[in-house]
């Protein structure tokens, strides 16, 4: 079987030959690795690669896993999945940008109200996580059409906190094009 891993430039293609339930031979293009593997617990895999043992800890995500080795987390992505995801992300970045928290947070203040006009970069919501505050700003000039949250509410990444309708940029020329 083949794996395509996302790299900084492109993808690394690895050929994998499983042998039984606890052995693998992997050809990476530059080398061939002989691996013994065993699950110690659902997140803990022990590998022996060409005889050298290592404990790895795997957190499964959507088309991505984070693997912790000797204290360091490695994000490992399936290239096909990553391409789809990157496209989606790019879409999101090109299309109406949204006001969403970067991490689980609590809403501290909402300095705008429905109907307000906002400039690009104007603070629209202040969040706090673990005693650190962060301010989300409007990505473009527009009008606040809806405030979806209230102060004190817990919010998660992905949730759209404030809807802003884009308006013609009369104040300043759009330098982003």
């Amino acid at each position: 079987m083949q794996y395509r891993f996302k790299t900084d430039e492109d993808a690394a293609v690895w050929t994998v030959d499983p042998e039984g339930t606890d052995r693998l031979t992997v050809t990476t293009g530059t080398q061939t690795l002989h691996v013994r593997h065993g699950a110690v617990s659902p997140h803990h895999l022990h590998l022996a690669v060409d005889g050298l043992g290592v404990n790895t800890f795997v957190l499964r995500g959507d088309g991505e896993k984070t693997v912790v080795i000797r204290g360091v987390p490695y994000p490992v992505q399936d290239a096909d999945f990553a391409e789809r995801k990157t496209k989606k992300k790019a879409d999101r970045e090109n299309l109406p940008q949204v006001i969403t928290p970067p991490m689980p947070s609590v809403v501290v203040r909402i300095p705008v109200s429905e109907g307000d006009r906002v400039c690009k970069g104007q603070a629209v919501i202040v969040l706090t996580a673990m005693k650190m505050e962060t301010t989300l700003t409007s990505p473009f000039p527009g009008r606040v059409t809806k405030v979806n949250v209230a102060a004190g509410e817990k919010v998660m990444p992905g949730r759209i906190l404030v809807d802003i309708e884009k308006e013609a940029e009369t104040d300043a020329p759009d330098e982003g094009r």
């Binding site: 339930t21 499964r60 995500g61 360091v72 673990m130």
Partner: protein
């Protein structure tokens, strides 16, 4: 001795205090907010009283509710831990008034040491060296400018009611002073409701050295040697050690005497910490007194063999401190790493969430004061400290090696921690050489990223996990991917 103690705190420090209470045969009461229904301190206590909503003002800072919880459960004393109400004079006074023993210094001591300019004056009067600077707040721009000229630039603007770096500004030259004073006063006002500021000489590359003090109310007072806490990020300590690599026996002796003098000057009772800055020429300056149990007290416990929390409780119960300065001897070397929920690759930004998996290090010379467990949801409302990993060895090198091995074995999945960053700090030449100054992180580790040299192994783990996943799917009928464990679904707030 008390029959029952209420611990007015949460997480790792509440658990640590509960442990000692139980060992002393004292009943325990925990308090908790909505976010902490299944927190470790609730699980460890004999009784637990719900305070209110997750917001600290509705729970761990709500004096009335905490007092009510103590009365309702028949607790005789309150241990405040650190943070929250630990250095709140009003809370200490309220406890005293309600007939509860506050395990800490008297309210008047907390207040006197809480005002930095008052504390400075007290120290000067008692011969404790302070950083050259002003002894009272000032708002007049001309007076401030004159004082700055006298001190010589760079100068440091500080808030009188200060703490946590708020209202603090370094000013390099006269023309920047006025603007910086205005901005600092405004920030201090917003943070503390008190815009008073003053100036101090700015020390370049100092070390942060502090002494643990124990004092009973009967005149007995000792220090339990120093801790060096120079490795900080965002003005917050992340690695502490004892002994300090910078102290000679002679300097330790002098600083220890100054620390005891500082504590005596303020009429100190119970456990406290006298903080100093030490400059590269071996001159030291009083910084402040922390009137509480310090986060990093475990390294002192490991090196002196003394249980600081037990002593706090005994002192609060009126027992004499049966320790002399001569009996206190450090042995070996101890290092603490604070494990925060934060992402060191994103400017140490907080990383709350659910702990999916955890493996704690253990074995010879390792102590982990841990406030989390697999399945626990780290709340977004509180300080991001998860645990404190402490390593003790025969000497500094052995302690560093032991800490590195322990960090390597410490696995927390589900949220980010600074473990890889801490490992690189401990491995660095500067740290190994003991060149630990408060600018350490900025000087050596700005824009740090881990060296990811084991990508191939990570990919092999990805593949092996896939294969194992498929095997498991067949056997259980569960979908591949993250295994749903029942307790991962019990919470009320999921990623």
């Amino acid at each position: 001795m008390f029959k029952k103690i209420l611990v007015a705190n949460r997480g790792e420090i509440a658990r640590r205090i509960l442990h000692t209470c139980r060992e002393m045969g004292i009943g325990t009461v925990a308090v908790y907010s909505d976010a902490d229904r299944k927190a470790v301190h609730v699980l460890d206590a004999d009784e637990a009283v719900h305070l209110g909503a997750a917001d600290p003002s509705e729970s761990y800072l709500h004096i009335d509710r905490i007092i009510a919880a103590a009365k309702e459960t028949g607790a005789q004393a309150v241990h405040p831990g650190y943070g929250f109400l630990a250095e709140n004079g009003d809370f200490a006074e309220r406890c005293e008034r309600e007939g509860l023993v506050f395990i800490g210094p008297p309210a008047r001591v907390i207040r006197a040491l809480g005002d930095k300019t008052v504390a400075r004056e007290t120290m000067i009067r008692n011969g404790v060296p302070v950083i050259p600077g002003m002894n009272r707040p000032e708002s007049d721009p001309d007076t401030l400018a004159q004082e700055a000229d006298l001190l010589g630039y760079p100068v440091l603007i500080k808030a009188a009611a200060g703490g946590g770096g708020k209202g603090m500004r370094i000013v390099q030259a006269r023309d920047a002073l006025h603007e910086a004073c205005v901005s600092a006063a405004s920030e201090a006002s917003a943070a503390f409701g008190n815009g008073a500021i003053y100036l101090e000489k700015y020390l370049a590359r100092p070390r942060h050295i502090e002494f643990q003090i124990l004092a009973d109310g009967l005149g007995n007072m000792v220090h339990l040697l120093e801790r060096e806490c120079s490795i900080q990020r965002r003005h917050q300590k992340i690695i502490e050690e004892t002994p300090s690599p910078a102290l000679t026996p002679e300097l330790r002796e002098r600083m220890g005497q100054a620390a005891v003098a500082a504590a005596r000057a303020s009429g100190y009772v119970n456990a406290g910490t006298v903080e100093f800055l030490l400059d590269p020429d071996g001159r030291f300056y009083f910084l402040e007194v922390n009137t509480r149990l310090q986060v990093e007290h475990p390294i002192t416990e490991m090196v002196t063999g003394i249980d600081v929390v037990r002593r706090q409780i005994e002192i609060a119960a009126g027992l004499p401190l049966n320790l002399t300065q001569q009996e206190i001897r450090g042995r070996g070397h101890a290092i603490e790493c604070r494990i925060y929920a934060e992402d060191p690759e994103q400017g140490f930004f907080p990383s709350p969430g659910t702990i999916v998996f955890m493996q704690e290090p253990s074995g010879p010379g390792i102590r982990n004061d841990c406030g989390i467990y697999a399945g626990f949801q780290v709340p977004v409302e509180y300080d991001p400290i998860l645990s404190k990993l402490v390593a003790h060895g025969e000497d500094r090198d052995a302690a560093i090696a032991r800490m590195l091995r322990a960090l390597e074995r410490y696995v927390i999945l589900g949220i980010r921690t600074a473990i890889p960053f801490l490992m690189d700090v401990l491995r660095s030449d500067a740290f190994r050489a003991g060149e630990t100054f408060t600018d350490f992180v900025a000087a050596h580790f700005s824009d740090w990223k881990p060296a990811r040299t084991e990508t191939d192994l990570a990919r092999l783990a990805y593949i092996a996990d896939d294969l194992g996943g498929r095997r498991e799917t067949k056997a259980t009928g569960l979908p591949a991917g993250e295994h749903p464990s029942p307790w991962q679904r019990l919470g009320n707030w999921q990623r």
